[in-house]
């Protein structure tokens, strides 16, 4: 059901205080929204943090969620950037099972996606890849054929283009 709904990229500017994350998570869970990824980062001003959330759910409900997030005392700004022209990036690490037979193919894939090798051992290699979520999805599907041992991705970080503020 949730996969039928589009993913939304939400950016929040919040007070850098304990408990803020719980208040935000409660707004999503109460309205039945599933959080796909969440990135919390310091900002230039140490009093605030930036959160980037990717979540899926009914688009009408999301409008409500944004309004309810804005209502929180600790939320300075809440914005849905879905459909906007923004810079967005993810970083992912893949641990892939290797042997003498697949190492060349693996390095070809890595080179095509400009992935770098962070660790190489006899049986496994750790690759780092950055880019759009689609790019990471693409390399993931190729690597799956070679055997992914584990992987982790950061979730989207986003920034407005030009001199606009996010």
């Amino acid at each position: 059901m949730s996969h039928l709904n589009p993913a939304h990229s939400i950016s929040l500017l919040v007070s850098n205080k304990p408990g803020v994350l719980v208040r935000i998570a409660l707004v999503f869970s109460r309205r039945g929204y599933n959080i796909d990824s969440l990135v919390v980062s310091p900002t230039l001003d140490s009093e605030f943090s930036r959160m980037n959330i990717v979540a899926r759910g009914n688009p009408d409900t999301l409008v409500q969620i944004i309004r309810q997030l804005e209502k929180l005392v600790d939320v300075i700004q809440a914005k849905d950037h879905t459909g906007e022209s923004i810079v967005e990036r993810e970083l992912a690490l893949f641990k892939v099972r290797t042997n003498s037979g697949n190492r060349t193919e693996l390095l070809q894939i890595a080179s095509h996606f400009k992935a770098s090798s962070l660790d190489m051992s006899e049986n496994a290699m750790v690759l780092q890849v950055t880019g759009s979520s689609e790019k990471i999805d693409a390399i993931k599907s190729l690597l799956e054929k070679l055997g992914i041992v584990e992987f982790i991705r950061t979730g989207k970080v986003i920034m407005a283009r030009g001199d606009d503020k996010t």
């Binding site: 408990g19 208040r23 409500q64 804005e70 209502k71 929180l72 005392v73 600790d74 939320v75 300075i76």
Partner: protein, 572 residues
């Protein structure tokens, strides 16, 4: 402003004084002893309740009667958990209360220390805002912010969790005179273009209806609402919490609308061509089946809370701002509408479908409330509990001014009425008599506060409407569940007159309709102490009119139905 070093508890009390707090409702415990110690040396009155839930409802009743934040002071652990119902009740009805809860010392936080609980964690979902104070020097700022947040914008409860080493520790920070909250903006006026659009929509209406809610009351917009209704010559329907914004005796008043509202208010909702909600939130008790609610009417929604925009229904126009200020913007753009025909239809509904009740049989609650209305002329502060008596009170008692009909609306908290009435009586500077109207069910939930009311000699008149049933649930089981009564028989209730007397509270009794006026008048003569009136009511009486939950307003049941009804589709 400088602060000669004091301990945290003294700073808290000094901050309360600076916020104009006169009374604190509290119950002590280990983690909060420093604050109870500090309050001894202050001019603030401490009211010792008999349960922390009572303390929060008293703070709530005080806040609703005065418009000022009410304050509850409790200890950690069970003291704090006992406040949850009161905090939730205040949140649902946008009532400013401050709950100060004691907490174990900071090094023990999260370690299951005696009476430790994650109070702020437990209350996140049901507060407007909350704090866990970890440094005594944060207290002046937190106290200032809490009161500001509780009472401004859309009001609500603020919880402040205070570890014992913070209330005992030394605070050297200065008292705060202002707040710096970049994420909290208090809405004021609406954008001019929106107000102009509202004026243009209203001007086209021939059958306008004003829907007045609690937001109008909180904003203090009674003068503007009256002016608007009279200027347009438009009828005014009120939500349960909006009763009293327009005087109940005003010819344009339709009383309460919704599930148990008046027939004429609900007919006006069905037939209007424009509905203008002023500080109401389209609760399911008002709209009935949403798809059919005011299907062809233009909807304008004025609210201070932007998150109400589109939450329940999508209005044609949303006006974001404070009711009073926005109406001040709007009024100069409007003139009288051609509503004579509309008002004539409403007058004919009022004649055809007046509120009524059967005169035969035993004592009916409607009769008591009707009598109360006759005696007081709507000049009383009435605090109700939740259930059948609440709906009948809302129908038959017509408050003439705001803050005179106090009831748990959104939460529907049984047990609210009695402590809230005690709180309201502490905030009552009008000299009006305070009535608590409760049922035999709800009253027994918080009756331990009989000690409080006796000790404090609050001159409230406690009417216990005893029908020996949980009447509202029984009514639903009667109407929708083939009369299969389950868990509604309140056998074993005490003789409430004897119970009152055991606490040193004078008890009276109403058994027959003919007793009502005499006993109520006698109770009104007592102005220096509480009195409890045990009303032995008709057992199986049902509240009408009624719109079955989830049904469209047009399917309102005006009189007791003869045929079996479908089970309702609405949730509660």
């Amino acid at each position: 402003m400088s602060n000669p070093s004091m301990n945290g508890a003294k700073v808290i009390i000094e901050c309360l004084k600076r916020e104009g707090v006169e009374v604190v409702f509290g119950y002590p415990g280990g983690a909060v002893i420093p604050i109870f110690d500090a309050i001894l040396d202050s001019s603030i009155k401490l009211v010792l309740t008999r349960h922390e839930q009572g303390a929060t409802h008293m703070a709530d009743g005080y806040a609703r009667a005065t418009g000022k934040p009410g304050v509850a002071l409790v200890t950690s652990g069970p003291g704090a958990t006992n406040t949850l119902t009161g905090i939730y009740t205040a949140q649902m009805d946008s009532v400013p209360i401050i709950v100060l809860s004691g907490q174990t010392v900071t090094p023990s936080l999260g370690k299951d220390a005696f009476q430790e609980c994650d109070t702020s964690g437990m209350t996140f979902a049901t507060v407007k805002h909350s704090y866990l104070v970890k440094d005594p020097n944060d207290l002046p700022r937190v106290m200032k912010e809490s009161f500001y947040i509780a009472k401004t914008g859309r009001p609500g409860p603020v919880l402040i969790d205070i570890p014992k080493d913070v209330s005992s520790g030394i605070c050297t920070a200065p008292f705060a005179d202002s707040v710096d909250l970049p994420g909290y903006v208090v809405p004021t006026r609406a954008p001019a273009a929106d107000v102009e659009q509202a004026a243009s929509l209203i001007t086209k209406s021939k059958r306008p209806l004003l829907l007045v809610g609690h937001g109008a009351m909180i904003s203090g917009a009674q003068k503007q609402v009256l002016e608007l209704a009279e200027l347009l010559n438009a009828p005014v329907a009120s939500t349960l919490l909006g009763l009293g914004v327009l005087p109940g005796s005003h010819p344009l008043s339709l009383g309460m609308l919704g599930m148990h509202g008046t027939v004429y208010a609900n007919k006006a909702v069905v037939d209007c061509d424009l509905i203008f909600s002023i500080g109401s939130r389209w609760d399911d008790r008002i709209t009935g089946k949403l798809d059919e609610f005011c299907k062809n009417a233009v909807k304008i929604h004025l609210d201070i809370d932007k998150a109400e925009h589109g939450k329940v229904l999508q209005p044609d126009l949303f006006l974001h701002g404070d009711a009073k200020l926005v109406l001040d913007q709007l009024l100069p753009m409007l003139e009288r509408l051609p509503t004579d025909e509309w008002i004539r239809s409403i007058e004919s509904w009022k004649k055809k479908y007046p509120l009524s009740y059967p005169k035969q049989g035993g004592l009916r609650m409607q009769h008591i409330f009707h009598t109360l209305q006759e005696i007081t002329g709507g000049k009383a502060i009435v605090v109700t509990d939740v259930g059948q008596h609440q709906m009948w009170a809302a129908q038959f008692i017509k408050p003439e001014a705001p803050n005179q009909f106090i009831t748990s609306g959104g939460a529907g908290t049984m047990g609210f009425g009695f402590p809230a009435a005690i709180g309201a009586s502490f905030g009552n500077s009008s000299g009006l008599p305070v009535f608590c109207i409760s049922g035999d069910g709800g009253f027994q939930m918080t009756l331990s506060e009989l000690s409080t009311v006796a000790v404090q000699k609050r001159p409230i008149k406690i009417l216990v409407m005893d029908n020996r049933y949980l009447g509202m649930v029984r009514q639903w089981q009667d109407m929708f569940y083939e009369k299969r009564y389950s868990g509604v028989d309140l056998e074993g209730s005490p003789d409430f007159v004897k119970l009152a007397e055991a606490y040193g509270v004078e008890g009276m009794r109403i058994k027959r309709p003919a007793d009502a006026e005499r006993v109520l008048r006698r109770a009104l003569e007592i102005t220096d102490r509480p009195v409890l009136i045990h009303c032995e009511c008709e057992q199986e009486d049902n509240v009408f009119p009624m719109i079955p939950p989830g049904a469209p307003i047009s399917s309102m049941i005006i009189e007791p139905p003869k045929a079996k009804l479908e089970k309702p589709t609405g949730s509660t």
